[in-house]
């Protein structure tokens, strides 16, 4: 852990990403404790009010302006981040579990299971992920659970491919060979010997996937197929604000910036994490 933090503090980009991510997650977790206006209650007298820093700490201030029914944008952004982060991280973890298990199975067992899995990956890769997600959400109906399922569905392949490749080389290593020689069962080898060795690459894939899934989640909400109103979501705020583009730029600008900052922080941290765990680049430092 100390080594981890020491290495992180040496990378400016990684540190920036990590700090930004911690701030975003903290804001999301602490949102109910912060003294923010109700994100779902409008104030028709303050419709489409522009951002203003005057009286920032007085009640009724809207530092980032209000939307078309007078809801505070800052409050909606922070509350929206709870949903975005929850949906995206659940999807990435779910996809990670499925992808890792299937990747280990395919890589270790080989043969028929491996061939079947790889063909399945080919098939799914041939459908653009966005279209697949749209089609499945449309078929199952837009709900939080279905959005999570769809995002996990677009995510498992990336884990499966990378984990499989790792397992192919792990399988030939001495500790696996000797475990087999003393008669360990296949399940035991897969869970006790292989699994701990692929958790690191799975973590790296997961971080980079998180960034992709956040954008995709926003795109689904943008098209009206994500989390349904009145729950605030960044993509939906963008879609609603688009109508007032020429008169109220803040309604679309800030939700977009929130997405960019979140994705950027995850990407920067993920890039650093990949380098940190990759012995090839680490020894070069």
């Amino acid at each position: 852990m100390t080594h981890f933090l020491k290495d992180l503090s040496r990378s400016r980009a990684g540190l920036f990403g990590f700090v930004l991510l911690v701030v975003i997650v903290a804001l999301a977790l602490l949102a109910p404790l912060l003294d923010l206006p109700d994100p779902t209650r409008g104030d028709l007298r303050a419709r489409l009010a522009g951002p203003t820093w005057q009286g920032l700490f007085s009640p009724g201030a809207h530092p980032l302006g209000t939307d078309e029914v007078g809801r505070d944008i800052l409050s909606r952004l922070i509350h929206g981040s709870r949903m975005t982060l929850m949906v995206a991280s659940t999807a990435v973890v779910l996809g990670g579990i499925v992808g890792t298990v299937l990747g280990i199975l395919a890589g270790y067992k080989g043969g028929f299971i491996d061939r079947l899995l790889m063909r399945l990956v080919d098939i799914q890769l041939a459908i653009p992920l966005m279209l697949l997600a749209l089609l499945v959400v449309a078929a199952l109906g837009p709900s939080i659970r279905n959005v999570v399922l769809v995002l996990a569905l677009t995510s498992w392949i990336r884990y499966a491919r990378i984990i499989r490749a790792q397992v192919l080389s792990l399988r030939e290593r001495e500790f696996v060979q000797s475990a087999r020689a003393i008669g360990a069962s296949t399940a035991r080898i897969m869970f006790l010997h292989i699994l701990p060795n692929v958790l690191t690459p799975a973590l790296v894939v997961g971080t980079l996937e998180l960034a992709r899934v956040i954008i995709m989640d926003a795109a689904l909400s943008f098209l009206g197929l994500g989390v349904q109103p009145p729950t605030p979501s960044w993509g939906r705020m963008l879609a609603d604000g688009r109508v007032y583009l020429s008169s109220a730029w803040w309604t679309v600008t800030f939700p977009g910036l929130a997405i960019v900052l979140t994705v950027l922080s995850v990407n920067l941290f993920g890039d650093w994490l990949r380098d940190y765990f990759d012995p090839k680049t680490r020894s070069a430092k």
């Binding site: 943008f222 098209l223 679309v252």
Partner: protein, 306 residues
């Protein structure tokens, strides 16, 4: 080589069959088109008659078999919305999508290759930092938001370009640039890291040591080898743009396949959904197939291994 081509061809066909199958069964879950096509209050008898006419009263497997048989001949049925052959409706949108995707890829490739090469060759200089920061931002920006911001700036505020639509070159600029930003960001980052790897190789030192001109080394030794991963990335991105620019097409009201499929999903127009996704998947699989062949041309080592 022939064996390799045949095997890849088989895999490609298998992938397309898989897509067609998935799309068939997922669209069945979308709902009953017969109930949607008739006005509210239509009698049960009317609904049953229409179901029989559309073949929806047959067992699922019979419907699937019939569907496959027709699909092989390019017949996906008649669009519920447009009342014409579904594949024809989709094909009419192909030029718009192809125009947007190819322009964006071309722009993105030029910008990305130049930026990536500069970043690799000027390692440690300020310009590398700037290029990489912009590329990182480009990758973190959702295309639909970038599109809206560009509309806000260039169309609403400055009034230089139209906010959306299709037809003239002016209509193409903003959507193509929006997509090109994402493409060039990915390519610049990839090309930089692949160039940095290659610059460390022994054969580069050899080439420099034997006194080759700098640009000979760059174009024949560095660029040629660094391009291999870029080719893969370009293929993946082209495939994604041909079917995945759904959101960009929506933002700019671009009459392409992506928007057509979204509208078809909303209207539960099964034939168009099926024809559209099958066509996109087929194009994607074909591109990947061609790329695998191209590798052999770019890298003699891969050719020899087959």
């Amino acid at each position: 080589m022939t064996g390799f081509i045949l095997r890849r061809l088989g895999e490609s066909l298998l992938a397309i069959w898989g897509v067609v199958t998935i799309v068939f069964f997922v669209t069945r879950i979308l709902g009953d088109p017969a109930a949607l096509l008739l006005p509210i209050g239509a009698s049960d008898a009317d609904i049953q008659a229409l179901r029989a006419q559309l073949g929806l009263d047959q067992p699922m497997l019979v419907q699937y078999g019939q569907f496959l048989l027709n699909a092989v001949q390019g017949d996906f049925g008649v669009s519920f919305q447009h009342g014409r052959d579904a594949m024809q409706v989709v094909l009419e949108r192909l030029p718009a999508t192809a125009q947007l995707a190819l322009t964006a890829i071309a722009m993105g490739l030029v910008i990305g290759t130049v930026a990536g090469s500069i970043a690799a060759l000027k390692r440690g200089k300020a310009i590398e930092l700037v290029v990489m920061a912009v590329a990182l931002l480009g990758q973190a920006t959702p295309v639909f938001w970038l599109g809206i911001m560009l509309i806000l700036f260039f169309a609403v505020n400055l009034g230089w370009l139209p906010t959306g639509g299709y037809g003239t070159l002016a209509h193409l600029v903003l959507p193509a640039f929006t997509l090109a930003v994402f493409v060039s960001a990915s390519i610049a980052r990839l090309l930089r890291s692949s160039m940095l790897e290659i610059l460390k190789e022994d054969y580069i030192r050899t080439a420099k040591a034997k006194g080759l001109l700098r640009h000979t080394v760059f174009f024949w030794h560095v660029a040629r080898n660094a391009l291999i991963p870029v080719v893969t990335m370009t293929a993946i991105l082209t495939g994604e743009l041909l079917g995945g620019s759904v959101v960009t097409e929506t933002v700019f009201s671009w009459p392409g396949i992506g928007r057509l499929i979204i509208q078809a999903i909303e209207a539960k127009d099964f034939p168009v959904i099926q024809a559209g996704i099958t066509l996109i998947a087929a194009i994607f699989v074909l591109i990947n197939f061609l790329v695998d062949l191209l590798y052999g041309v770019l890298d003699p080592r891969i050719r020899a291994n087959r």
